[in-house]
C-alpha cells in the first residue's frame, strides 16, 4: 500500500518537480520568442502542442549534436510560461539525472551550433525565432580582391583615353592633309583668278542675288 502511494506520489511529483525547474527568469533557462505572422504572413501555420513537441525534439537534436556522447530525449527539454505572443521558457535537464539542469553556457553553445538547422525546421529566421540572450553571429562580408569600382573606373578611363588619342591623331592627320592640299591648290587658284572668279564669287558684274541662299534663319 505504502509502495503504491509512494509510486503515485512519484508520478505526480516528477512533473511538478520539473515545473519547478522551469520557470520565468529561470537561471539556466532561455526565453524563446516566435513571430510566425511576420515571417510567413499568409502561410503562417498555427502554433499548437504538436509544434511545441517539434520544438522539444529539435532542441534535443541540437543537444545531441553538440554533446555527441549523451543521448538527449524529448523529455529532457522542459517548456513553460507559454503566452499567446508565442513566447515560452525552456530548460534542459541532463539525460542521466532529470533533476540536474544543463548550464546556460552549454545550452547556448548547442543552440549556436545548430541555429541554422533549428531555424530551417520552423521555416523561420534569426530575427523571427529569437533566443533571448543568444545573439546571432553576423555574416562575414564578401571582400572581392579588386574593388568593383576600380574595374568600372578602368573601363571608363580606358575608353576616354582611347577617344582622346583618336581625336588628336585625326586632327593631326587633317592638318597634314590640308597642308599638302594647299600646295596643290595654288595652281587651281591662278586659273580661277584668270577667269575673274575669286572665293567663288563672280567679280565681273553686279552681284547676282538669284544665287544667294534665301534662308535667312539658321536651319533646324
Amino acid at each position: 500500500m505504502l509502495v503504491w502511494i509512494l509510486f503515485l506520489l512519484c508520478q505526480v511529483g516528477a512533473p511538478a518537480l520539473a515545473q519547478d525547474l522551469c520557470q520565468r527568469d529561470a537561471p539556466n533557462g532561455y526565453k524563446v520568442r516566435i513571430s510566425l505572422k511576420t515571417a510567413l504572413g499568409e502561410d503562417a501555420y498555427e502554433w499548437n502542442q504538436s509544434e511545441m513537441f517539434f520544438f522539444q525534439a529539435t532542441m534535443a537534436f541540437a543537444m545531441r549534436r553538440h554533446f555527441q556522447m549523451e543521448t538527449y530525449n524529448v523529455d529532457n527539454i522542459i517548456l513553460c510560461v507559454q503566452t499567446s505572443r508565442v513566447s515560452f521558457w525552456f530548460v534542459v535537464t541532463s539525460p542521466d539525472n532529470t533533476t540536474m539542469l544543463i548550464p546556460k553556457a552549454d545550452v547556448e553553445k548547442a543552440v549556436r551550433m545548430s541555429r541554422h538547422r533549428i531555424n530551417n525546421a520552423f521555416l523561420l529566421s534569426d530575427r523571427t525565432l529569437e533566443f533571448l540572450g543568444i545573439y546571432p553571429t553576423l555574416a562575414a562580408p564578401v571582400n572581392p580582391d579588386t574593388p568593383p569600382w576600380l574595374i568600372v573606373f578602368g573601363v571608363v578611363i580606358g575608353a576616354v583615353c582611347a577617344g582622346i588619342i583618336a581625336l588628336l591623331v585625326s586632327s593631326l592627320l587633317q592638318k597634314r592633309r590640308k597642308e599638302k592640299g594647299m600646295t596643290e591648290d595654288g595652281q587651281d587658284e591662278e586659273d580661277m583668278q584668270v577667269k575673274g572668279v575669286e572665293n567663288g564669287i563672280n567679280l565681273d558684274g553686279t552681284y547676282n542675288r538669284g544665287f544667294t541662299d534665301d534662308d535667312r534663319f539658321t536651319k533646324l
Partner: protein, 650 residues
C-alpha cells in the same frame, strides 16, 4: 527721351548691318569662326547649360519649404520678368556682335572690359568646384555596379564582432558619404591629405570633360545629343517607377500643397528670384559665346522664350519625380518607426501578433497607458509622424548622396536605379560644365593668353589640366567644406553684379535704340513693349533688389559651417562651427576679385588712356579677335594686284 550715355567710337568697333550680311553670305569668312552644325545642337547646348543640378536638388527643396504649390507663383512671375529678358538680351548681343563675353563688353565700351573679365573669373571658380561634384557623382556611379550597394549596410569592424561604431550611430548612407567617399575631417583647418580614390575620380571627370570640349563646339555639339536628352529619359523612367511605389503620392501632394501665406514672406520672393537667376546661368559668358556662333538672322527672341519655358518645365518635372521618391522613403521610414513601436508593445505585453496594427495602434497605446503607465514610460516609444519625415527636406549634395541613395536601396533592383540616377546627374552636370568652360576658354583666347598658332586641342587640354590640379583642393579631407565655401561666395554675389552691369551696359551705353534696330535687322521685327519695359526698368530693378538683399544677408550673417564630427555630442547631427579668421581672406578673394574687377579695369583703362594720350584709343586695334581678322582678310585681298578692276570698284 531716352537716357543714353555718351559712347564715342562705337560705330568703329562694331560691324555694320551690311558687313554682317556680307559675312553671312561669304563662305570663306566663316571658316575661322566656329559654327553650329544645325539649330538642334545650339538649342540642346543652351538647354543643357541652363538645366543643371540646381533644377534637381535646389528647386524641389525651395518649392517644398516655401509653401509648395504657392511657390510657383513667385517663381513663374520672376521667370517672366527676370529670366526671359536677361536671356534674350544675352542671346541678342552675342549674335549681333559675334564675339565672346570679353569681346562683346570691350566692343560696347573699352571700360566695360571688366565685366568680361569678371565673367571669366566667375566661370573659372565655378568650373573648379563644379567638376568636383562630377567626381563625386562618378564615384557613386562606379560603386553602383555591385549587387549589394555599398551604402546599404554598415561594414563590420576590425575584429568582426559588430558594426563600425561611427556607422552604427549614424546610418549606412551617412557613413558611406562622409567616411568612405569624402573621408571628412572635423574641421576646415585640418586638410586630411589627398584622398586617392577621389583624385582618380576627379581625373576621370576632367578627362570626360576634355574629350567633349576638345575641339570646341565641334565636339560639344555632338556630345549634347546625349547629355541634354538623357536626363529627361531617366526622369521619365523614375517617374513611372516612383508612381508605382507605396507612398509616392503623399510626397507629391506634400510638395504641391499650396500655403498662400508664404507669399507674404519676402524671403520667398528673394529665393525665387535667386533661383531663376542662377538657374538660367546668366552672366557666365557662356550663353553669349554660344549665340555668337549662330547665323546673324537666327530668331533669338523665340530661342529665349523656348529655353526659358523648357527650364521652368524641367524644374517642376524634376521636383515631381524627386518627391515621389522622397514620399516613398518617408512612408518607408514611417512604417518602420511604427512597426518598431508595435513590436516593442507586443514583446513587452506578450500580446499575440496582429493584435496591434497601424490602425488601432493609438487606441491600444492609450488603453495600455491607462493600465500600465510606468511600463509604457520605460519603453521610450518614438513618435512617428509622416509629415516630419516628409519635411526632412534636404537640398544639395545631401539630397542626392544621402536621402536619394537611401531611398534607392529600398527599391527592388537597386543597382539599376542607382546607375540610372547617377548617369542622369552626370549628364546634367556635364552639359552645364560645357557652358562654364566656354565662359573660361573664349575670354582666355581673346585676351591672347595662348598663342594663336597653338591648336585648339592644346589650349583646352592645358586649361583642363590646370583646373584639375587646382581642383585637388576639393578632394582633400576638408574638401567638402571648401566646396561649400566656393559655392556660397564665389558664385553668388559677383554674378548679380555682372548681370546688373550687363543690363545697364546694353541698355544705356550701347543704346536701347541701336539695340532695337539690331534686333529688327536680325529677326525682322522690333522687340515689343514687354521687352522694352523689362530691359529698361523692371529687370535691372529686380537685379538690384536681389543684390542688395543678398549682400546684406551674406555680410550680416555669422559665418558658420556644418561639420561631420564623430566626437561631437550630438553626433550624428552635423556640428556647427565658426570659420577661422583666415577664411575671411579667402572669401574676399572669391567674392571680391570678380566683383571689383569691373570698376578696377575701368579705372585702369581710363588711367592708361589719360597717361598715354592716344587719340586712336577706341579703334579696333585693341582687340585681336577673329571677326577683325575676317575684316582684315577682305582688306588684304582687295590689295592684290592680279584681281581685275570691276565696274563698281569692288
Amino acid at each position: 527721351m531716352r537716357l543714353q550715355l555718351p559712347n564715342p567710337g562705337l560705330e568703329d568697333r562694331i560691324l555694320s548691318h551690311e558687313e554682317l550680311d556680307k559675312l553671312e553670305t561669304e563662305e570663306a569668312g566663316s571658316g575661322d569662326r566656329p559654327k553650329w552644325d544645325n539649330k538642334t545642337q545650339y538649342m540642346l547646348t543652351c538647354v543643357g547649360f541652363c538645366v543643371g543640378l540646381g533644377n534637381v536638388w535646389r528647386f524641389p527643396y525651395l518649392c517644398q519649404s516655401h509653401g509648395g504649390g504657392a511657390f510657383m507663383i513667385p517663381f513663374l512671375i520672376l521667370l517672366v520678368l527676370e529670366g526671359v529678358p536677361l536671356l534674350h538680351l544675352e542671346f541678342a548681343i552675342g549674335q549681333r556682335l559675334r564675339k565672346g563675353s570679353l569681346g562683346v563688353w570691350s566692343t560696347i565700351h573699352p571700360y566695360l572690359a571688366g565685366v568680361g573679365i569678371a565673367s571669366m573669373f566667375v566661370s573659372l571658380m565655378i568650373s573648379l568646384y563644379y567638376n568636383t561634384i562630377m567626381a563625386w557623382v562618378m564615384w557613386y556611379l562606379f560603386n553602383s555596379f555591385q549587387e549589394t550597394l555599398p551604402w546599404s549596410q554598415c561594414p563590420l569592424n576590425y575584429n568582426l564582432t559588430g558594426l563600425v561604431s561611427e556607422c552604427e550611430q549614424s546610418s549606412p548612407v551617412d557613413y558611406f558619404w562622409y567616411r568612405e567617399t569624402l573621408n571628412s575631417t572635423p574641421d576646415i583647418g585640418e586638410n586630411g591629405g589627398l584622398q586617392w580614390w577621389m583624385v582618380l575620380c576627379l581625373v576621370s571627370a576632367w578627362a570626360v570633360l576634355y574629350i567633349c570640349i576638345i575641339r570646341g563646339i565641334e565636339t560639344t555639339g555632338k556630345a549634347v545629343y546625349v547629355t541634354s536628352t538623357l536626363p529627361y529619359v531617366v526622369l521619365s523612367i523614375f517617374l513611372i517607377r516612383g508612381l508605382t511605389l507605396k507612398g509616392s503620392l503623399s510626397g507629391v501632394v506634400f510638395l504641391f500643397t499650396p500655403n498662400l501665406t508664404e507669399l507674404t514672406n519676402p524671403t520667398t520672393w528673394l529665393d525665387a528670384g535667386a533661383q531663376v537667376f542662377y538657374s538660367f546661368s546668366i552672366a557666365f559668358g557662356g550663353l553669349i559665346s554660344f549665340s555668337s556662333y549662330n547665323s546673324v538672322h537666327n530668331n533669338c527672341e523665340q530661342d529665349a522664350v523656348i529655353i526659358s519655358a523648357v527650364n521652368g518645365f524641367t524644374s517642376v518635372y524634376a521636383a515631381t519625380v524627386i518627391y515621389t521618391i522622397i514620399g516613398f522613403r518617408a512612408t518607408e521610414r514611417f512604417d518602420n518607426c511604427l512597426g518598431g513601436n508595435i513590436l516593442v508593445l507586443l514583446n513587452t505585453f506578450d500580446l499575440p501578433e496582429g493584435n496591434v496594427t497601424e490602425s488601432n495602434y493609438d487606441q491600444v497605446l492609450q488603453s495600455l497607458n491607462g493600465t500600465h503607465p510606468e511600463v509604457i514610460q520605460g519603453l521610450n516609444l518614438k513618435t512617428c509622424d509622416l509629415n516630419t519625415f516628409l519635411s526632412e527636406g534636404v537640398e544639395g549634395t545631401g539630397l542626392a548622396f544621402i536621402v536619394f541613395t537611401e531611398a534607392i536601396t529600398k527599391m527592388p533592383a537597386s543597382p539599376v536605379w542607382s546607375v540610372l540616377f547617377f548617369i542622369m546627374l552626370f549628364c546634367l552636370g556635364l552639359s552645364s560644365m560645357f557652358g562654364n568652360i566656354e565662359g573660361v576658354l573664349v575670354p582666355l583666347q581673346d585676351l591672347g593668353v595662348f598663342p594663336k598658332s597653338w591648336p585648339k586641342e592644346s589650349t583646352t587640354g592645358i586649361t583642363c589640366v590646370l583646373c584639375c590640379i587646382v581642383g585637388l583642393i576639393f578632394v582633400q579631407g576638408s574638401g567638402n567644406y571648401w566646396l561649400s565655401l566656393f559655392d556660397s561666395y564665389g558664385g553668388s554675389i559677383p554674378l548679380l553684379i555682372i548681370a546688373f552691369c550687363e543690363m545697364v551696359g546694353v541698355v544705356y551705353l550701347y543704346g536701347i535704340d541701336r539695340f532695337n534696330d539690331d534686333i529688327e535687322f536680325m529677326i525682322g521685327h522690333k522687340p515689343n513693349l514687354f521687352w522694352q519695359i523689362t530691359w529698361r526698368f523692371v529687370s535691372p530693378a529686380i537685379m538690384l533688389v536681389i543684390f542688395v538683399f543678398y549682400f546684406i544677408t551674406k555680410v550680416t550673417e555669422t559665418l558658420l559651417y556644418k561639420t561631420w564630427n564623430p566626437e561631437s555630442e550630438n553626433f550624428p547631427t552635423l556640428e556647427e562651427k565658426e570659420y577661422p579668421t583666415w577664411i575671411f581672406v579667402i572669401i574676399f578673394i572669391l567674392a571680391g576679385i570678380p566683383g571689383l574687377s569691373v570698376p578696377l579695369t575701368a579705372i585702369y583703362k581710363c588711367l592708361r588712356n589719360r597717361c598715354c594720350k592716344k587719340d586712336n584709343e577706341f579703334k579696333q586695334d585693341d582687340l585681336n579677335t577673329i571677326a577683325k581678322q575676317v575684316h582684315l582678310t577682305d582688306e588684304a585681298t582687295k590689295n592684290k594686284p592680279d584681281i581685275p578692276e570691276t565696274a563698281d570698284g569692288r
